[in-house]
Subunit: 140 residues, 4 copies
């Protein structure tokens, strides 16, 4: 049963680094996507018990097919981000993940959006069906 | 007259740097957004005759409100990207820019998407209406 | 009294992010310098009670004049770095900081080196003498 | 004959990208090392006729053992860097490369320094002796 919104939301704290700050004195826009990536890697291991290293050992990797991000409030030097992510759909070759980035100090939303990841064979780079045990591990 | 698709498309070549390559041996997904940023800065100066430095002197900056990117084919070490951008709408506080990233070697599309930028007062970070002369400069 | 080695060593934990990993499957060499920067910003606030924001308010900034880094063992995906830094000399316009980056999992040295920072007037970018109260704050 | 200073100097132009600019409104210090890396990759292919891809195919990679950089004048938004590098010594497992980064607009030195690279077996990450044909290719 893959109905939307039926999966868990997990959170990871990602501290802002000084090298993330750009000429506008706030976190550079593309770095927010890296914060989500960082949260997903943490959550794969800690929340789904399936770290990225296991995917790599099995010859798989995840590629970003689509990314969408909407910025609400800037993150600044000294901030930490709470990155909440949730699988909203996983089937066939793709996994759809929604995220919300919250400024820890204020609890207010900094950015939100979603990623569509595609499972690929690491060697060929070609998309492959997500194996059933992985679909299950992510369906929590 | 701000009808969509009435504006010019401009191109900038952005060479891939080795530090853009990630663990998957291709250009890291968030770097594609930086390539578009780089192209826009080049085109502001070269094609619209209004370099970023002029915006800054006038007390303005552009913030990313929304970014959307769809990946088709990976860029690799040694590649150059042709980044084509086009203003599709400019009014009020926001400017909507569509982009296509082409792998120069093959002429094939690597990624495409769009940005919504908002003009802000650099000092306060608050959104402001885009001055009329800037709307005109971009309406080419 | 500015004799070398008379100052305290402080430590900051910096988690490796996936976007720090390069084509060689380990932390990209230049990112180690960013880890030290991140540790210094944390320690300025937490250990010297003089956060970077205070420098900026007073019209100052720190520029890197020289950086030297020697790599011993690679950091990988999933690692955290313990970044230990120590002021070894502070006088005139410059502050000399030694660092050691330790792989938290093993306690072994990953890299070590030093930075020479110069205090600059933020507006002009010119080097200025470090004010006496700052020299004192750092002489702990 | 590996006497110092007997090798050629090669140059590569590296344009500054907006995402290289940090909170101090100039190129972030660690990015200069990435500019040198980018120049070396270009020169490996173009000047030594031995692109990085050939090293990888042969199962080799280059790791940075030591990096040393001294900053003279900042690079800014809109600048291009001329990165001149020269092998000053190549023997055993290591290759010593000197670099000078010049601000193209003014012809003045922005930074200078050196790298010590070590040849490694890509699979094990262990240092290996540089094969004789590679020493020769670099001894121009």
């Amino acid at each position: 049963m893959n109905s939307e919104n039926s999966y868990s939301t997990f959170e990871t704290i990602v501290p802002v680094r000084p090298d993330d700050i750009d000429m506008n004195q706030h976190v550079h826009n593309s770095k927010y996507l890296d914060y989500v990536l960082s949260a997903r890697f943490d959550q794969m291991e800690r929340c789904y018990q399936m770290p990225m290293s296991e995917f790599i050992e099995r010859g798989f990797s995840w590629f970003v097919k689509t990314a969408h991000i909407s910025h609400k409030r800037q993150l600044h030097l000294g901030d930490s981000a709470i990155v909440a992510t949730k699988v909203s759909k996983i089937e066939g070759r793709s996994c759809h993940v929604e995220f919300t980035i919250i400024r820890q100090k204020t609890g207010k939303i900094s950015a939100e959006g979603w990623f569509e990841y595609v499972m690929v064979c690491a060697e060929t780079g070609r998309a492959v069906d997500i194996p059933e045990d992985i679909v299950e591990a992510y369906s929590v």
